[in-house]
């Protein structure tokens, strides 16, 4: 400091600049711009070829989009997804509680269930349920090893549709059991003690203390499972249930317009999955409450805040702002 004699001594030093008061020059990121350009060009090429290539037959995609068989198939796909996920959730919760129970018989039973239904390929399970009548021609309700009250022909009860529901739902329960168990175990033991000390019983503790906290761990993989299930329902075509994909296949088997019809089906799948994702986002946000020091903002509030910040800084004369 003291070695520099020529300057500084007589000229008064300007006051130090402060961020937010003085104009700021952002760092330039040329490589980012190049990457953005490459991505845009590739995307434009893809879109251009999809639009201009007549083989895509977008007119057919539009024609069949609302066709009656497609709507029926869509309805089947959606109901199957909802029913099978519901079975999976309820039965999966029961299985998870059994896995965590102090009773070793219940624990092993749940373990065995998960082991078997996760281990056997789903396709095989569907076929077995569909052909149950070959194994058990009659089903009956009654006292175990005792008298029967009612009995049915298996073929009447196990239609293709019920076979699909049983196969998908019972299989899903095995996966949900593991997800829910992991969620329940993620909750600190101190929480259980605090609930007990307040006089809560087991069920009350589960409902008000454990599950709401476990949801944070349970929800993301459950969202995945729901999306998988939505697409997995297309397996039921092996037992001749006309879901969205199978209905589509039936059409292109006749008119040979395979690609346009498959594109149409995919658009439907993507639409539903987008809606599911939005639902998942809000559910996750609900169960995240209290999980961080910040108050949570909705996506919309977040965007508005960022925009407001941008305006503030640009009003202060920020130059060369870059995409972040």
């Amino acid at each position: 400091m003291s070695t520099d004699v020529s300057s500084g001594a007589e000229t008064k030093a300007p006051p130090p600049l402060h961020l937010g008061e003085a104009p700021t020059v952002g760092l330039k990121h040329p490589s980012r711009w190049i990457a953005v350009l490459v991505v845009f060009v590739l995307a434009a090429m893809a879109v251009h070829s999809a639009i201009t290539n007549p083989n895509f037959r977008w007119d057919l995609v539009g024609d069949y989009f609302w066709a009656a068989p497609i709507m029926d198939g869509l309805r089947v796909t959606l109901t199957l997804t909802v029913i099978c996920m519901a079975i999976g959730l309820v039965l999966g919760t029961a299985l998870a509680l059994m896995r965590l129970s102090p009773n070793p018989v219940l624990r092993s039973a749940a373990f065995g269930y998960v082991w078997l239904l996760r281990g056997v390929p789903l396709l095989v399970q569907l076929i077995v349920w569909y052909n149950l009548s070959a194994l058990y021609p009659r089903l009956s309700l009654g006292i175990p090893f005792g008298p029967e009250f009612v009995s049915f022909e298996s073929n009447h009860v196990i239609t293709a549709y019920t076979a699909a529901i049983l196969g998908l739902g019972l299989n899903q329960a095995a996966y949900m059991a593991e997800i829910i168990r992991a969620g329940l175990q993620s909750v600190d033991e101190g929480q259980l003690e605090a609930a007990s000390a307040l006089g809560m019983g087991r069920l009350r503790t589960m409902m008000t203390v454990v599950l709401p906290q476990a949801m944070r761990v349970i929800l993301p993989p459950t969202g995945n499972e729901t999306i998988t299930m939505l697409k997995q329902t297309s397996l039921v075509s092996v037992v001749a249930v006309a879901d969205l994909l199978y209905s589509t296949q039936l059409i292109y088997a006749k008119n040979f317009q395979t690609i346009p019809l498959l594109i149409m089906a995919c658009i439907w799948y993507l639409i539903i999955i987008s809606l599911l994702s939005v639902g998942q986002y809000y559910l996750e946000r609900h169960f995240k409450r209290g999980s961080s020091r910040q108050q949570h903002k909705s996506l919309w509030q977040h965007l508005r805040r960022t925009a407001a910040l941008r305006r503030d800084t640009s009003a202060l004369g920020t130059e060369g702002s870059t995409p972040r």
């Binding site: 101190g190 605090a194 000390a197 307040l198 006089g199 087991r202 709401p212 209290g290 020091r293």
Partner: protein, 250 residues
């Protein structure tokens, strides 16, 4: 109010409580001190049945804890009865154990509403009063993670008080706190003692024990080595082990 008679507790082969006998009168404050691993927490947790005892008996408010007597036999209680016994005993934990997905106010309200089935509006009013009393009138709608340790522990005390307990148990309520936050929690506990609450407090705060306790019990190796008024046990300990312990913590 609380009476221990020849209470034994094992963890496997490890005898953690060795025939413990003592009484806590109504409105009395008992402070338990002693080295780590001496069985203080275990003793406290036996009172509200977070641990089961293997011998002897514990009575709270004249009723045996965990068992009913019938024609010369002791019958294990149904979990529902155990829960009911616990509702009269408030417990405050070392690491607060607040419910993180509920605000301070919800933490205080949840148990009277869900367990006692009291009217929501009444409970809410009482809860707000309690939170103001522990100095958190302006933090009611904060989640536990948005509160400091001292504030969280005060919410936990309010939560326990919301059940209108006859007896309060504290397990090292200040040992997870930064030194400057200890005072605010101890002040709340002092007020509580002054109002006549029966309290059993496991603590390393010898100053608090000296000031607030009616009785101090020194535990070591699963036995109560000595107990009596603080002036005696802390001021003029009779046993070498007590003297050794106090010389380390004072």
């Amino acid at each position: 109010m609380v009476s221990f008679s020849k209470v034994r507790k094992y963890f496997g082969d490890n005898e953690v409580l060795k025939s413990i006998t003592f009484d806590v009168a109504p409105r009395e404050v008992l402070c338990i001190i002693g080295p780590s691993g001496s069985g203080k927490s275990t003793l406290l947790r036996c009172i509200n049945q977070l641990e089961r005892i293997d011998g002897g008996r514990i009575d709270v408010d004249g009723a045996m804890v965990g068992y009913t007597e019938h024609s010369g036999r002791l019958h294990e209680m149904h979990p529902r009865q155990i829960s009911r016994q616990r509702t009269d005993i408030g417990m405050v934990f070392q690491n607060f154990n607040l419910f993180p997905h509920m605000t301070a106010l919800q933490n205080v309200c949840v148990s009277p509403v869900k367990v006692r089935r009291e009217r929501k509006a009444e409970v809410r009013e009482r809860a707000e009063q309690l939170l103001r009393r522990v100095g958190l009138g302006d933090r009611m709608n904060h989640y536990p993670r948005q509160l400091s340790g001292g504030q969280q522990q005060r919410v936990a005390i309010a939560r326990a008080l919301a059940m209108k307990p006859q007896l309060m148990l504290f397990d090292e309520p200040t040992s997870a706190l930064d030194p400057e936050l200890v005072g605010e929690v101890l002040d709340v506990m002092k007020d509580l003692a002054a109002e006549g609450m029966t309290m059993v407090v496991v603590t390393h705060e010898i100053g608090f024990a000296r000031e607030v306790a009616d009785t101090v019990a020194f535990m070591d190796g699963g036995v109560v080595v000595e107990s009596g008024p603080p002036a005696q046990v802390i001021g003029d300990p009779q046993h070498q082990r007590t003297r050794d312990f106090l010389s380390k913590v004072l």
